[in-house]
């Protein structure tokens, strides 16, 4: 059953809050050199599918160039995908016109990584947050200022500071302003692209706790993008691992961190330096990946990880593994030779 509310958003009952189906984003680049001919395509995102239920947090992890930030820009429709569907409450917004998108922009908000460049230095905090209220028609009866002050208080800033400028705040406080601006629209889902990675450790924990409280109290769903695997583990219900524009593994947090099945996930997790070493946790065997991530202009055939994978065989070059559930394990994984790490197999046998 489809309903249309007064803001103009169509909703299909029972549909997930957000659903991406085989979404692709290919950017055109010029060939190298003066006399270069032929256009090349950077396959930044190449067939990503995911779903987010209301109130759920999905973590997207991967190394630079894996397409996680492009995915964020696709979900928020700052980019129009080359192919695929982006469904918000069952309605495809992938190619929707700017005018029709407006009400959706209110419900899908974005928090940026850099708290310095994402706030206008010439606007006061009151203007920054107030503009978000006015743009989305969210100014309440009590007046704009009152709501701005409420929002500042929610994110842990002094409500009296509404007439200050961004440069008067520290990095952590600026990130809070960005969060207040996102909350002004009363979103159902927030896409947070590396929201804490520019912050110092002690400030990072403050902002993480704030985001977690907002999630619990307001029931907002999150797509949380970070390269810090500890931060993602702390915040997310489910985690998806990306490599070179594709999703290689996805599943509930604990399953993904404890029994990862894709060789890349295993290598990624084993490479994280763990402070537990000094507290008597036995040092883990670190999988040493050789080489660099291949170019997204000309990715390897078949499985994209095969050029750096120790399990790779002929089939990996000829056949592209589908993201699917295997007989063992609780994650979905795109690998011909997926299996839980050796240690956990041993642990189960004992």
């Amino acid at each position: 059953m489809t309903t249309t509310d007064k803001s103009g958003i169509k909703r299909v009952a029972g549909a997930p809050l957000l659903e991406l189906n085989d979404v692709k984003m290919h950017f055109r680049t010029k060939g190298e050199g003066l006399l270069a001919r032929g256009t090349k395509w950077v396959q930044a995102v190449d067939g990503v599918s995911l779903t987010v239920q209301p109130g759920e947090t999905l973590g997207l992890v991967g190394e630079s160039g894996c397409g996680k930030s492009t995915t964020a820009r696709l979900i928020t429709r700052l980019l129009e995908p080359t192919a695929g569907e982006i469904k918000y409450e069952g309605v495809d917004i992938a190619h929707m016109s700017e005018r029709k998108l407006r009400p959706y922009r209110r419900e899908i908000q974005l928090i940026f990584q850099d708290p310095y460049s994402s706030l206008n230095p010439r606007h006061t905090v009151g203007t920054i947050v107030g503009t978000a209220l006015r743009t989305h028609g969210m100014v309440p009866k009590g007046g704009e200022l009152k709501r701005v002050q409420e929002l500042l208080e929610v994110v842990g800033l002094n409500p009296e500071h509404y007439n200050r400028y961004p440069h008067e705040f520290s990095g952590g406080q600026r990130q809070r302003i960005g969060i207040a601006r996102a909350l002004a629209a009363r979103p159902k889902i927030i896409v947070a692209d590396e929201p804490v990675s520019a912050l110092d450790v002690s400030i990072q924990a403050q902002v993480m706790n704030l985001l977690e409280n907002l999630r619990k109290e307001l029931g907002i769903a999150f797509v949380f993008i970070a390269h810090d695997l500890g931060v993602v583990r702390h915040f997310c219900d489910r985690v998806a691992v990306m490599y070179l524009g594709r999703m290689v593994e996805e599943g509930p947090r604990d399953a993904l961190y404890e029994t990862p099945q894709h060789p890349y996930t295993q290598a990624l997790l084993s490479a994280v330096p763990d402070i537990g070493v000094v507290r008597g946790v036995p040092p883990k065997h670190r999988i040493r990946l050789v080489g660099d991530v291949p170019s997204p202009v000309d990715p390897p055939s078949g499985c994209r990880f095969r050029t750096r994978c120790w399990k790779a065989e002929e089939i990996c070059a000829t056949s592209d593994p589908a993201l699917e559930r295997k007989p063992v394990g609780d994650t979905v994984v795109a690998c011909h030779f997926a299996e839980p790490p050796v240690e956990s197999i041993v642990a189960e046998a004992v």
């Binding site: 190394e63 952590g172 450790v201 400030i203 695997l229 961190y257 763990d274």
Partner: protein, 362 residues
């Protein structure tokens, strides 16, 4: 199916190095002050820092932005502009006094005795010159050799830092290298003159985690081969746990805790170190809540009186006589263990850690 040997990943496990106590210090920093006069007042970036480091050991300097970790390390290489910086105290590297060294002496000291690896290899390499030209320049500044011999040395160094095909790569430009390769090239450049002291300022912060692991392995391997002393500046305690022998925790321009890595990360004695440990979400074990340090780091223009950390410290009320606000504590041993020091008035910090902090670590 192939046999098991082919399917097993290439793994490495770092083994902790044996401790050699009582070695002579190669780097000795004593009561270092670094100040920058500005229009708004005097920025006191480093305020009385002292530490020593022997050869073949790695010291991690940990701290947040503005703690003085980079400023103090740049002073070791004499990189501060004399006109706009006021430095006092002493920095001895292999017996040479660096504070007040003439520009001419600094030129022969830098690179040969001490070298630095910077955080961002993109901006630290010159885009107009080939990697080889930049390495040979550094080598020929200290060695009277032909261009051909210097280039052979550059190829050799690139090979040692794990760059495939070094004889071809040596003629390429920085933009033709990936991020991890550029950092390797930087390391090759820093080590080309066999310096006995290597300062690495956040060398892996800009890198992806799998590349970071490669670079950490490389630095550890090279240190073993070259026998140098390494100062490793970072904010990532996980990296510290893997690479360092000792840790120096800095806050507000000063050392607040210093000692062997397993002690400082295993049972720290300073409330700031506790706060750091409570702020970091782990990748293993049961996820627990984070307990961040309230407030933000102090302004270097207006440092708090007494202990620099007292405005953010939840234990300050345990110390009688308003001591934390009025008296700056000394960096001395606080427990029976003489091998570690901390700067805090709190009594019996080891018991406070065991009973109150340890149970709530994430």
């Amino acid at each position: 199916m192939t046999d098991q040997t082919v399917r097993a990943p290439q793994t490495v496990t770092r083994t902790p190095r044996a401790r050699a106590e009582g070695e002579e210090a190669y780097l000795e920093v004593t009561d270092l002050h670094v100040q920058f006069p500005t229009a708004d007042g005097k920025v006191q970036a480093v305020q009385g820092l002292s530490y020593a480091l022997p050869l073949r050991r790695t010291l991690a300097i940990v701290g947040e932005s503005g703690s003085g970790k980079s400023v103090s390390s740049m002073a070791i290489l004499g990189l501060h502009d004399r006109k706009s910086t006021w430095i006092s105290g002493s920095i001895k590297v292999g017996g040479k006094e660096v504070v007040g060294m003439s520009e001419k002496d600094l030129m022969s000291y830098r690179g040969a005795d001490a070298a630095m690896i910077f955080q961002d290899p993109q901006s630290s390499l010159h885009p107009f010159f080939t990697i080889g030209a930049q390495i040979t320049e550094s080598y020929r500044a200290h060695h009277n050799v032909s261009k051909r011999a210097a280039k052979a040395r550059a190829v050799d160094m690139l090979g040692r830092v794990g760059i495939p095909n070094p004889s071809r790569r040596v003629d390429q430009y920085p933009h033709e290298f990936s991020g991890g390769m550029r950092q390797r090239a930087m390391i090759a450049m820093a080590l080309v003159n066999d310096p006995k002291l290597l300062i690495a300022d956040e060398p892996t912060t800009a890198l992806d985690v799998t590349v970071q692991a490669q670079i950490l392995d490389l630095i550890a391997d090279l240190q073993r081969d070259f026998g140098s002393a390494v100062v490793f500046i970072t904010h990532d305690l996980g990296v510290v746990a893997e690479i360092a022998d000792d840790i120096l925790v800095m806050y507000g321009g000063n050392a607040v805790e210093h000692g062997p890595v397993e002690k400082i990360l295993g049972s720290p004695l300073h409330p700031y170190s506790w706060g750091l440990l409570e702020s970091i979400p782990a990748v293993s074990g049961t996820p627990g809540p984070l307990h961040p340090i309230p407030g933000s780091p102090p302004s270097l223009l207006a440092m708090p009186s007494g202990c620099a950390f007292h405005p953010r410290c939840e234990f300050r009320d345990r110390v009688g006589g308003d001591l934390c606000r009025t008296l700056k504590p000394e960096l001395i041993p606080r427990t029976a263990d003489q091998g570690r020091t901390s700067r805090c008035h709190l009594k019996e910090p080891d018991k406070v850690f065991e009973t109150e902090v340890l149970p709530r670590l994430p």
